[in-house]
Symmetry: C2
Subunit: 267 residues, 2 copies
């Protein structure tokens, strides 16, 4: 059995002050992928940076206080890689991957974008460069006899079931037709070739959402978006026995605006 969790922590220092450490101590996962760390390693308390029993890999952004991904693994990785080959995003704190026995796990933080801004152009450039990398990654790993799991905040809701208010958001960044079509390609067996493990295990239901705005009563009303995904190669997806979102019980115990997304694999 192997268990992997991904969560956008929205500032690891703030999350650690609020309950992230307790959550981590309780998780049964073997790998935890973090996004929006928003700190350099040496800005983090040691117990947060290198929690007892974990190996940690950080890929901060060169822009202070922005983005930043990390991976925590119970076993030491066989290899670590930061970035995915596109120079523009080499030190953007948006992608890192580790090799474990028979498995490559990645932590991804796709730019969030905003319609009509340069940030949306950046998101599109990222998507354009990242899709061929995903295909290449799958092929390379297949040649090495590895499965692949790309976890993270993809900042796109794929289908109408993936956000509460899809009608109101048809022109919103994160649910644009071209973004949804891009995810179609990531999941297309003839293209990216990945499987959305949580959706595969919950084919019909609305959600389960993984992000709720801090504004208004979004969390209380479960007015969320499913934008955090575990995307697996088909062979790995077939081994998934469980896939779920850990929605906090109450607003009070939330330590991020995102919830952890976990997938459990059998042998």
């Amino acid at each position: 059995m192997q268990q992997v969790t991904t969560v956008n922590v929205n500032g690891l220092r703030a999350a650690a002050r609020k309950g992230y450490a307790e959550w981590l101590a309780d998780t049964g996962s073997d790998v935890v992928c973090l996004q929006e760390v928003r700190a350099e390693q040496d800005q983090l308390p040691v117990a947060v940076r290198e929690p007892e029993g974990w190996h940690a890999v950080y890929a901060p952004s060169s822009a202070k206080g922005r983005a930043g991904v990390a991976l925590l693994t119970r076993r030491e990785p066989e290899a670590v890689r930061v970035g995915f080959g596109e120079p523009e995003f080499a030190d953007a704190g948006r992608y890192a991957e580790v090799d474990l026995p028979g498995l490559t796990v990645a932590s991804l933080y796709l730019p969030s974008g905003e319609v009509g801004t340069e940030r949306q152009d950046e998101k599109e450039r990222f998507m354009t460069a990242f899709l061929p990398y995903l295909t290449q990654l799958r092929q390379r790993c297949a040649a090495d006899g590895r499965e692949v799991l790309v976890c993270g905040d993809w900042n796109i809701a794929h289908r109408e079931a993936d956000l509460k208010n899809w009608r109101a958001n048809r022109r919103s960044a994160g649910f644009l037709p071209e973004e949804r079509a891009w995810l179609d390609r990531v999941l297309d067996p003839a293209d990216g070739g990945y499987v959305d493990v949580v959706r595969a295990h919950h084919p019909e239901q609305a959600g389960p959402y993984s992000w709720w705005s801090y504004r208004g009563r979004a969390f209380d009303n479960d007015s969320g978006w499913r934008i955090d995904y575990a995307m697996a190669t088909p062979g790995l997806a077939d081994r998934a026995v469980k896939a779920y979102v850990e929605r906090a019980a109450s607003h009070a115990e939330r330590w991020s605006d995102h919830a952890p997304v976990t997938v459990v694999f059998g042998p």
Copy 2:
């Protein structure tokens, strides 16, 4: 009996979240002078902006989130004036005055400065322009049969007894020889002609300090500065029966890095 308090609130919104409102509800003062309000009127909750039983006058800075003085009076002022005639500081949120029967009260926030910077030059320009105004104010009010009380954060410790660590601070902004000499002139009977009411009532003691840095253990060690003054015309100073600093009992109940300074006048 008439009682006037001055306090630098270091952000009225933050102070109001921490205990300012309770302090105000308990004060027996008739006039409260505030400095570093750091908000426009409409950024303040109504109960903070216009507390029940008070008239409020605000003089915000045109620079958002900076400076800002205010006066709260139990009786409606006969007149209100903002600024002291120097155009550079007209909307700097550093000076306002109100006329009450027989008394003009001002709230002053003198620039804080830092040696070797443009901010120190600004402080000096303020001082240069403000001293003649103080003299003029006293004379004008004398002609009207009014006493004057200029309260606020003057950002200068006058003498060695006015800060804990005077030796270490001989080259620090706030205790420079030229700044101390300027306060000498404010207090010189032949020049500004004002009386430092707290010092007049506590001629020998160290302090009482009115500001402690938030850094380190400054408050716990009473490593403070006396930079908040009530400067009175001599006739008014003669009527002072009490003058004191309300040092908070504990670090926990502080709602500003400054403490309220209060003077009580007899008939």
